[in-house]
């Protein structure tokens, strides 16, 4: 049962048919993150227009969890006001670090709630977080987030 929660149909769908994949111009900030234990990689670009994230584009290579997570990140954050996007980011990180004890906010996280099961597999939490950590760095570089860059 746990296993089916890890590989929910939504995750497999995003993995097999990713949304918005590919690096696009123009962009204000870019970050490339690697998970050194498994070699998973993701590059995220953030394009800002006014107060909104006009585009969050990405390219990556890795397991179903990390790549589906990038696809969901693209869906959730593109066209969002910066403040809203950061709220989603924080909620996703909290969900992943919650060891399966955090009740996800479906309105905020959309398809992201499918990752709740991943939080019970400590070895895979880093996979799910990889694109989100890269996003945070890209946003810092794009000048829309104040704060230190993070390392996955």
């Amino acid at each position: 049962m746990q296993f089916d929660q890890l590989y929910q149909e939504i995750i497999l769908e995003h993995y097999k048919r990713p949304h918005g994949r590919g690096l696009r111009e123009p962009f204000g900030g870019e970050a490339h993150h690697v998970n050194p234990t498994c070699g998973d990689e993701v590059t995220i670009r953030v394009a800002v227009a006014g107060e909104k994230l006009a585009d969050v584009s990405y390219e990556g290579m890795g397991c179903s969890i990390s790549q589906a997570s990038a696809s969901v990140l693209h869906d959730l954050l593109t066209d969002q006001p910066v403040g809203e996007a950061l709220k989603v980011h924080d909620a996703f990180v909290e969900l992943m670090q919650g060891r399966g004890q955090v009740e996800p906010d479906e309105e905020l996280l959309g398809d992201g709630v499918a990752f709740s099961g991943v939080a019970r597999y400590p070895a895979r939490v880093k996979c799910a977080l990889l694109p989100w950590m890269a996003f945070k760095d890209a946003a810092v570089r794009a000048g829309v987030v104040v704060g230190p860059e993070v390392k996955a």
Partner: protein, 425 residues
């Protein structure tokens, strides 16, 4: 080398009863442990010896006149003698205990460093700009990174053997690669990712011609096949206890006696000295010179018990069993559609460690589905990232076998891979 025609001379089913962990379940399935190249399981005989040592003989070694200290010292030094006999070392004083293979290799690397930094250092260990160290693209990071760091510290140059498409060492450039500038060649005996068993004889012969030292990383060979340091003709080998039925926290550096005598100390502290004054110290002979501080005593005793267990089986029989399993697995895996094996496709010149990829499916996902079936394999770059780069993959899935592995477990792996293909296909 033992051939496939030799029958296994031990009863695998009976032997499995010695390993309590093999009786447990994982995710509702019987445990199928196929990760022995990562760490092996431990038989009851090893666990009991370690428990008895703590319960009956615990004292510090080499410094007490009391009975417990004497018993502990005898047990610790007894383990050293078992290790020496196991790899046919001429003397137990050539066996240096440390915490693992990585530490053993770093010990040699830092001995080079220290000799290079002191005017009186033995010329065989002195390195500087223009000197060369040779490794291979097949190395575990533990036999690569210490030499990269040593080259950075001394200005020496690191060079390496490349690999053939079949996963063998490419020795075609041997005479150019190992030359008058070479001070050390350090290569792996059996690859932890490809399973390849290297025959170091040509490298040793060439190193002798040019006066270079040779180190062999035996982390994956000593647990799985007969290793004779005198027959190999090398200068140093490193291996670790936990991959050969022993506990973690105990590793071995074997070095030729005259070389250990010429090596400066690396760690300073208790037990490694001869005389200490405020102005300076003189040092104990090997192996004590390289074992500063209280050593991993019960871990060494556990390794000794593991060696007893393996010696009772006979290393030729251990290797024969693993060759049977490996031949069976190579055949069974070749029946899985889209599966690609990295490393030798035949059982000759390889051990029971098989890395593979399923087209389009990431190893993390493969490993996760297999775990749900109770099948424990390793996924990732196996601390040998240059090998993955060489074969153009970010990571692989690896199944590795040992004395307790059965053909039924290989069948469970193959069934698990079918499920992987269903989930991600």
């Amino acid at each position: 080398m033992t051939t496939l025609a030799n029958p296994t001379t031990f009863d695998v089913a009976a032997l499995r009863a010695d390993f309590p962990i093999l009786g447990r379940e994982v995710n509702g399935h019987p445990l199928v442990y196929l990760d022995s190249a990562n760490t092996s399981q431990k038989p009851r005989q090893v666990l009991e010896v370690m428990r008895a040592h703590h319960e009956r003989h615990n004292g510090n070694v080499s410094r007490s006149v009391h009975t417990l200290g004497t018993e502990a010292t005898l047990a610790y030094e007894g383990a050293r003698e078992k290790v020496a006999a196991f790899v046919n070392a001429p003397s137990a004083s050539e066996v240096v205990f440390g915490k693992n293979s990585t530490e053993a290799i770093n010990l040699v690397a830092y001995a080079f460093s220290n000799a290079s930094a002191s005017a009186g250092g033995d010329p065989r260990f002195r390195l500087g700009p223009g000197d060369e160290i040779v490794v291979s693209e097949m190395e575990h990071h533990s036999n690569l990174v210490p030499w990269q760091l040593l080259c950075e510290r001394t200005g020496a140059t690191l060079r390496w053997f490349s690999l053939t498409e079949e996963g063998r060492l490419d020795e075609s450039s041997l005479t150019e690669l190992v030359n008058e500038r070479t001070k050390l060649v350090s290569v792996v005996h059996m690859s932890n990712i490809l399973g390849t068993i290297n025959d170091p004889s040509r490298i040793v012969a060439r190193a002798r011609e040019v006066g270079a030292l040779v180190m062999l990383d035996c982390s994956q060979s000593v647990p799985h096949l007969p290793v004779d340091v005198q027959a190999l003709g090398v200068d140093f080998i490193a291996f670790t206890g936990h991959k050969m039925l022993g506990p973690t926290g105990i590793g071995v550096l074997w070095g030729r006696g005259e070389l250990l005598e010429a090596m400066p100390p690396v760690f300073g502290g208790g037990s490694m000295i001869e005389t200490v004054t405020m102005a300076g110290s003189t040092f104990a002979p090997a192996p004590a010179r390289f074992e500063a501080g209280t050593p991993p005593i019960v871990e060494a005793v556990g390794l000794g018990a593991a060696i007893d267990y393996l010696s009772d089986l006979g290393m030729a029989a251990v290797q024969a069993h693993e060759q049977e399993i490996t031949a069976y697995a190579l055949d069974a895996l070749s029946s899985v559609p889209t599966l690609q094996i990295f490393g030798p496709a035949v059982v000759e010149g390889r051990g029971g460690t098989i890395s593979f990829a399923l087209e389009g499916i990431h190893p993390h996902d493969v490993g996760q589905v297999l775990d749900d079936e109770g099948v424990e394999v390793r996924v990732g770059h196996h601390c040998a990232r240059p090998v993955c780069v060489r074969y153009g993959v970010p990571a692989t899935t690896r199944a590795s076998f040992y004395v307790y592995t059965t053909t039924e477990e290989v069948d469970a792996l193959v069934r698990g891979l079918e499920r992987v293909r269903k989930v991600f296909g």
